[in-house]
Subunit: 734 residues, 2 copies
């Protein structure tokens, strides 16, 4: 099964070599099928004592009608729940596909070794007492990890609730704390066990069914990427739900999830990621580093992966309902059919708020509605079938709007009024959904009065909501997903870059003990990588400076350059707008004198950087900071106050595909300043995009770069390019 | 009852004369008590035919155990539901306090007259067929309005569902379509009938009870302000819920709602206002006019009135639950007690997202928790009592954190786990709430597994939620409301202004047929109103210009001034940064020549405006546009791209209190640019505030001003004031 996921990835012709070479993917696809569909299970630590995990898991396996053989392992009792016990796993006279361990943490290691000796490859370690308790537990978990690696085992947990597979030929409930869910198309993986139990209970209340359910706890071995691959390959799973508190990797997750959400057989992934509050990166040396909070990293990862991040459990299940029904909309044009004006307005507001469009009906639709609706009804969108509407009027309205070619999806609103028979209306909506190739969702407003209709709709698989806002938000999520899977997969562009020169420059700087590169060195690096750089020359004398200026043309800028001179302005080391030879010569001499006076006569000076004075343009900042876990994180923003005071920046993990560069540029709040306002021409966004892709390649190819700021990149009107004016690079030491 | 609401308003010492004089309050407080608690009701149009409104309302009155006398009026039948009918309202041999009309629209007028002749003062017109159908219906409604005004009647509706009063000595359900709600502390008024019915059904499902319920339909006579006053005076109503599609007035609503939410006996008002989508004000002549969409007006109104605007029905009831429990928090510091880590993190995220703070416990709290919690529990906030917690451990944790003086409110989270007995935990939380003087809310995660706990909590009036996000958002709303009612009511400051001069200037301009004032006239007006104006003089000759410049000091700016010259720059009519007399003289002559060349030799020129060149500062835009319904709407924003491209502006209705000016300034997204970034000093916000208040007084005193832009107002560092650099004023014609 994991095989077909990787096949998917291979078929994806655009996931080119740039990505593969840059991704250090240690977790190759693995076969977890025996974990999900074992022929035999040993329940080590099965217990007669009710209320314990060891008793519950055994009972759940039995009551869930597990299709294989169960071997309770307990040396202290002869049988549990009527099943003969064995004293130890080695005493089982059969191959054991899966061992579930519910025993004290210190005993886990030995039992795993014993089972592995017997040939068992798959384990679920329910036991707590590992990493989560700190101290001893951490070492215990590390040993378990090592065993898994050395012996090629797959271990789920420790500190988890277990797993469930509702496939009719498996029917395995090897979990405790949660009820056996009804079978359905949702695959759920959760890092929190307690939350997982609550999720099963919620889902049950909403009539949502599951294919597979996995609580993966401390993920000592099997992590969310392994489980995503496995759910992607499971034909019963149509929608993947995940709750995570952290991700084990960045780029591997992005590549895996991207292949799942945008492959040949795309499945939506809905994720709750908690811990949104900012974690301090305040000590970072670059702008980029200080702006990249942990949550921005996760937003970037989910966005690149096509994963739909939700904010709450309610949103998770709202979306789950709409995605469980497989019809995808062709666009954002939404029709509303309602039996009351007020809720129709609420739905319209929500339609706009969540980025959908109110459909404009064709004349033939209006004509058809006019023929069928009462004279006081509204024939425009939202269609008001009026408070006394019965199911027949809803049917006519649905027939009319669903045949309109400018309608992509439909929300049916029902309020309980005197003549309303919600059950009959529910039947009509269910029929319409059956025949219609556009998504239809229902909003039954109220509680008990509309209950008969809700029951019918749920039974027929029509996504059904209590409130118009939730219904519309869910439709909007589906419309965005439909756009995502239809969007072409862009390339990872590969640029000619002089890697050797860059490496040599880094070697030299590090050898000289300088991890922070001064401007001229940073420009050397960027030039070697083909960035558009303002013409510059390092001059050793006033003569050289004047010659350089004459060659590049006036006006020019002079900046002091020396290995220790980081704050040039403070020491009189910058002179702008020099318009002739005399000015250049004078500036050179004054500058060198001023720097020596301020920093000491023996300060090392490499020379004076002569740069062509740039035409004014819009100031942009591009940057990169290397996240300890996720690798290089790219940043884009407008310069100056937009970045520093307003924090209006966007992030993505490198490497980025070409479309992602455009997304980064478009997703800042102030983006319209680049589109041209107040009569200005639009800025050259493709030029910025190319710099972002070059930056992506540079930092991916050179892991020694720890942080990098290009600040400012001056961008000119469309077609006139962009120019790097200043940059800084910080290398990892050692 | 309306008496005590107005008494409230009178007691409010700060609602000073400026406000009262400026508010044209035609709807004086009126006594609606006989409408809500009539001794006798005539049901005109009572019907034997089931399923009709005329049958339902009668049945609801009877089944609701109405405490007064019911007179069904129907000429065609002798009795309905066992009650003797009368053929007409005049045939009733008793005083009729309230007449409920469920008859065809054309018959309403006559019956109202007939009842009024008999002495009936209060009416509920259920009948549809008025304004909402257009044409005839509009005239019919206007006649009904006129009758109400002439004869001093109070009419609810038409086109409404009716009203309900659950007071035990009234028990009146004079509504159709909705069930009789359980008695409780919510007062609900709704412009949409169908939504109201759905709301009653939702509330019933959540166990929320009502004091009064009113569907007010077309509000021909009684509007939302009348009903708010009446609910404010009703002792049984503790929380007011309202659904509106529009408001009948602006300033009257603000004053009334402000007195209710911030008076001596404050009651929260929770409002759903639909129709958020932008209505076109695109044709407006000023910046302010073109930026003020209808929804911004409503946001401004609700904000000034202390009304809590909610986005959805779900949010409405979430908040209703938390406000039904009267304890107000002292601050934003929130403690979380949970039996699972993941949901604890979700609650923490929501705490931060909704603007609350995670409480930091005192040492004594940590000690107390340490003594009582298991070793693996978390003693910091969120307190993790661990998955196997029973009610006793929840009690210990609640005792500890509720005694911590740095905790203002508590969220108790329960996930269903093996050892969880939600009923017992529900009892413990209910007890804690009983003894504790801090708000406590519960989140029971899941559906059926936690149901026993939910039942106990609801029965004890503990606000209870399914999801941590909803619980936290509701706590945050209550904390904000607590801050609102504790905030001092600021004054309406009154400035010395030369009203006569302003009126004379307007008279002259209008007499000359100029509704759009050119810069020099606008500056004349603002100067008469005490705004800080850059020194200026209108010069008729190069000599006068040179003399003026010498007097005010160089550098100066010259701008052409003439009654028809609106776009000065386009015709060479602006010269900046003139540094000596020669430059001024030359500029004067060139300018006049250029203008005459471009606009014709006979173009009227008043002269040339000589202005002192302003020191650079931050550019601000202040403005006003007069909303057809709500009156003068003030705008504040940063100048240039912030206003034009980023639409980062704030609005409030004039007149504004002093604190509101500060709020306007603080509520733009880019506010921190005024706080001083990148080493700049903070800007003089009090100076901007004073200009806003002067603007408020100017536009309130002079209703002839239709639109006004001060653009830019240059603001200097704290203590250095602000200066009006340019302005335009547009007057109403005729």
């Amino acid at each position: 099964m994991a095989r077909s996921a990787s096949a998917n990835a291979r078929k994806n012709k655009n996931s080119g070599s740039a990505a593969s070479t840059s991704v250090s993917d240690s977790s190759a696809a693995r076969d977890l099928e025996p974990l999900f569909a074992p022929q035999s299970i040993a329940v080590v630590g099965a217990s007669r004592r009710g209320g314990t995990a060891g008793s519950e898991i055994l009972r759940n396996l039995i009551q869930g009608s597990y299709a294989g053989v169960i071997y309770p392992v307990n040396p202290k009792t002869k049988s549990i729940m009527g099943i003969r016990c064995v004293p130890s796993i080695s005493a089982i006279d059969d191959h054991v596909d899966l061992a579930v361990l519910i025993i004290p943490a210190p005993a886990v290691e030995k039992v795993v070794q014993e089972a592995a000796d017997k040939g068992t490859k798959h384990f679920v370690v329910i036991s707590a007492g590992f990493k989560e308790i700190g101290g001893d537990g951490v070492e215990r978990e590390n040993r378990l990890k090592a065993i898994a690696r050395e012996r090629g085992l797959s271990i789920l947990g420790p500190n988890c609730l277990g797993l469930i597979n509702t496939a009719p030929d498996v029917l395995m409930n090897a979990a405790f704390g949660g009820r056996m869910p009804v079978a359905g198309c949702m695959g759920l993986i959760s890092q929190s066990g307690a939350l997982a139990a609550a999720l099963l209970d919620y889902a049950n209340g909403r009539g949502i069914g599951f294919s597979r359910f996995v609580s993966f706890g401390n993920k000592a071995d099997i992590n969310e990427v392994d489980l995503l691959r496995s759910l992607a390959a499971d034909p019963a799973t149509k929608v993947i739900l995940m709750y995570v508190e952290d991700l084990s990797s960045g780029q591997t997750f992005v590549e895996t999830a991207h292949a799942i959400t945008h492959g040949r057989n795309p499945k939506p992934i809905l994720a709750i990621k908690t811990g949104r509050t900012q974690e301090g990166a305040a000590a970072a040396a670059s702008h980029t580093g200080s702006l990249a909070g942990s949550d921005e990293v996760y937003d970037a990862i989910f966005s690149q992966a096509g994963v739909i991040r939700v904010e709450s459990v309610e949103e998770l299940f709202d979306y789950a309902e709409v995605f469980a029904e497989p019809t995808l909309p062709a666009g954002r044009r939404t029709a509303i059919v309602t039996n009351a004006g007020g809720p129709g307005i609420m739905a319209t507001d929500a339609c706009i708020r969540y980025g959908l469009k109110l459909a404009r009906f064709h004349d033939y639709t209006i004509k058809s509605l006019k023929f069928q609706m009462p004279p006081t009804g509204s024939l425009k969108n939202p269609v008001d079938v009026i408070g006394d509407a019965r199911h027949d009027r809803y049917r006519s309205a649905l027939d009319a709007v669903s045949s309109d070619e400018d309608v992509d999806q439909i929300l049916v609103l029902v309020t309980p009024q005197a003549m309303t028979n919600s059950k009959e209306i529910g039947e009509v909506v269910s029929e319409s959904q059956h025949y219609c190739d556009k998504p239809i969702v229902a909003c039954m407003m109220g509680e008990s009065d509309v209950q008969p209709g809700v029951v019918v709709l749920k039974a027929n698989g029509v996504p059904t909501y209590q409130f118009p806002e939730n219904a519309m938000r869910s439709l909007a999520a589906k419309a965005r997903f439909a756009e995502w899977i239809r969007s072409p997969i862009a390339e990872y562009r590969r640029f000619e870059m002089d890697r050797e020169t860059v490496d040599r420059l880094f070697d030299e700087e590090l050898a000289a003990g300088r991890s922070q590169l001064v401007e001229v060195r940073a420009l050397n690096v960027l030039q070697a990588c083909g960035f558009p750089i303002v013409p510059y020359k390092l001059a050793q004398s006033a003569d050289e400076a004047a010659a350089a200026a004459a060659q590049m043309g006036y006006p020019v800028v002079l900046k002091i350059a020396g290995p220790k001179i980081l704050h040039k302005t403070d020491v009189g080391g910058v002179k702008l707008n020099l318009r002739d030879e005399g000015a250049v010569r004078e500036a050179f001499d004054t500058m060198v004198a001023s720097v020596r006076e301020k920093l000491g006569a023996d300060i090392e000076i490499w020379g004076v950087l002569v740069q062509k004075m740039l035409q004014p343009g819009k100031e942009i900042i591009l940057g990169m900071t290397r996240d300890a876990r996720f690798g290089p994180l790219l940043m884009f923003g407008l310069g100056g106050i937009y970045t520093e005071a307003l924090r209006d920046v966007s992030f993505r993990l490198a490497p980025i595909r070409e479309n992602v560069a455009g997304e980064m540029i478009r997703s800042i709040r102030s983006h319209r300043l680049l589109e041209g306002v107040r009569g200005e021409p639009p800025s050259d966004q493709p030029a910025i995009g190319e710099c972002l892709m070059r930056l992506s390649q540079l930092v991916t190819d050179h892991p020694r770069i720890k942080e990098l700021d290009i600040n400012p990149l001056i961008v000119y009107p469309q077609g006139s390019g962009a120019m790097v004016a200043d940059a800084r690079i910080i290398l990892s030491e050692g």
